[in-house]
């Protein structure tokens, strides 16, 4: 199970700028659903509220109106039913790769052999068994993010929430991690909701793409690519990929109200 629903979620920030109080409508009646086992991408220009939506779903930020439910239960704060993958991995620098994965599991109450075995299993899932004793600064950017993914998956959440997980990586590493994420998804069937600003990534990975603008859901688009997607390099060459990518590109740029 792992169904996420946004029901008319709104969030207002009060921001003090130059001594004046500004109200920012980060989210404006956002509603959409993510089905069990589905991969959904949240895309939009920066400041459109996509990261805020993800943080509200995680329980790190509270909405000012509306609610998010996971498997029918309303989100009130963080919970083990959701696993978060942060933009810059955010591993604890004093722990090695294995201990970082164990940290999340310990918080869930695992102890002893079960704790270690589970952590090792998920490190193996992301292909890092041999680097388990390295501390974060001894890992490359891509390896760090793999540990971040293993840490989130290890607690066996219903939903994986990812905040621009590959945004900080170089192009080659990003491509291999995208392929790996699809592989992990095929094996674990986790529901994944991820934020990205990368059109290619959204089309390559997601079943559906939620396009956000000015805190609102602008459009929700199906990606007409079947699973398993296979070699992502080949997928990039298909007319369906090009067409979907272009459609989203048009939607993102077709905005007369925004002056750049």
């Amino acid at each position: 199970m792992g169904e996420v629903s946004f029901h008319d979620v709104s969030k207002r920030f009060a921001l003090r700028m130059d001594g004046e109080l500004h109200h920012v409508q980060a989210l404006d009646r956002v509603s959409f659903k993510v089905a069990d086992g589905e991969i959904v991408a949240l895309i939009g220009p920066s400041g459109c509220g996509k990261t805020t939506a993800l943080r509200v779903a995680m329980g790190l930020d509270a909405s000012t109106a509306g609610r998010v439910t996971v498997d029918g239960r309303e989100v009130k704060g963080c919970g083990h039913d959701r696993g978060m993958v942060f933009q810059h991995a955010e591993l604890l620098p004093w722990l090695n790769a294995l201990q970082n994965v164990m940290f999340g599991l310990e918080m869930k109450g695992l102890r002893g052999g079960e704790l270690r075995d589970t952590a090792e299993k998920y490190l193996a899932l992301v292909g890092l068994s041999e680097s388990k004793n390295r501390r974060p600064h001894q890992l490359s950017g891509g390896m760090k993010q793999r540990v971040g993914i293993a840490r989130a998956l290890a607690i066996d959440p219903s939903v994986l929430l990812m905040d621009e997980p590959f945004g900080a990586l170089d192009a080659q590493t990003r491509e291999s991690l995208q392929a790996e994420l699809l592989d992990v998804h095929a094996r674990t069937k986790k529901t994944i909701l991820f934020v990205t600003h990368d059109l290619d990534e959204a089309v390559l990975l997601a079943d559906r793409i939620v396009v956000m603008k000015h805190g609102r859901v602008h459009d929700i688009m199906e990606v007409p690519l079947k699973r398993p997607r296979g070699d992502l390099g080949i997928v990039r060459g298909t007319p369906e990929f090009a067409e979907t990518r272009y459609k989203i590109w048009r939607e993102l740029h077709d905005d007369t109200t925004v002056v750049h």
């Binding site: 704060g77 999340g104 390896m143």
Partner: protein, 276 residues
């Protein structure tokens, strides 16, 4: 992926090694600096009336006399007891208080001002009052050292907590870690470099506090050696405890640095010490 990281590590190691080989070791530079100071002091110190000043060889002779008579060791032993009692108590109290003040805004609002004010407290002026409360003996000396060492440790810990990246705390929150666990397993290790800096700053303050306490309460320990030799216009002997204390502070500092590398090895690995 592993290959890329390996190559990166290797190049980093190679880069670190090459300048290391060409550079003069730090201890040689330090030793040369100390030698220069001693030579100049020796040359020009001899021209000064021995009441108004002294010079290294005279101080060395005085040092030897204090060692042979056993006076130095008994004085040092007497001084170190309140010193370590007060200093360790300041660490034990200062770190948790700093962590709590830094982490919880209510604690910060309620207690922060006392810590900030306490740092600037004119302790010497309060010694007579402390004597009224605690007497002239061991207790009051511990209290003076404690009060001088507490605030730099506490303030540094507090500042360190406010500098912990918010996202690391969100990692704890997103895995549903309770406040206390976030404090102990995320905030404390992330704050360690600041804490250790505070513990180092406190060494100097604690040494000063110890001498103040020995001057103004029961005259004892190294403070007594200073006062007695000053009263006898024996300036060379007066310098002995002063130099012993300064050397001790240097020793403690490097001991703390050693402890820091043991408890927080990742810090030395991350932080670049690559300087001109």
């Amino acid at each position: 992926m592993a290959d890329i990281a390996d190559t990166q590590n290797k190049t980093a190691a190679a880069e670190a090694e090459t300048p290391e080989r060409r550079q003069t070791p730090r201890w040689i530079i330090t030793l040369a600096s100390v030698a220069c100071l001693l030579i100049f002091w020796e040359i020009f110190g001899r021209d000064v009336n021995p009441v108004f000043g002294s010079y290294p060889s005279a101080i060395a002779v005085a040092f030897w006399e204090l060692v042979v008579t056993g006076q130095l060791w008994s004085a040092l032993f007497e001084s170190l007891q309140p010193f370590f009692a007060g200093y360790l108590l300041a660490i034990v109290v200062g770190i948790p208080v700093g962590l709590v003040i830094g982490r919880f805004r209510t604690a910060e609002a309620a207690l922060g001002i006392y810590i900030t004010a306490g740092y600037a407290m004119p302790l010497v002026a309060l010694v007579p009052l402390l004597i009224l409360w605690l007497g002239l003996g061991f207790k009051v000396k511990v209290a003076v050292v404690f009060l001088m060492a507490l605030f730099p440790i506490c303030i540094n810990t507090w500042l360190g907590v406010t500098a912990v990246p918010k996202t690391l705390i969100e990692v704890g929150k997103s895995f549903v870690a309770p406040d206390f666990v976030i404090l102990r397993r995320i905030v404390l290790p992330a704050t360690l470099p600041y804490i250790m800096a505070g513990v180092r700053l406190a060494v100097g303050r604690a040494v000063v506090a110890m001498v103040i306490a020995e001057f103004f309460t029961t005259i004892s320990g190294l403070g007594a050696v200073i006062i007695n030799s000053a009263n006898n216009f024996d300036t060379a002997t007066m310098f002995v405890p002063i130099i012993v204390l300064m050397v001790m502070a240097i020793g403690l500092n490097s001991l703390i640095g050693f402890v820091e590398r043991k408890v927080a090895p990742w810090q030395a690995e991350i932080a670049g010490r690559d300087r001109e």
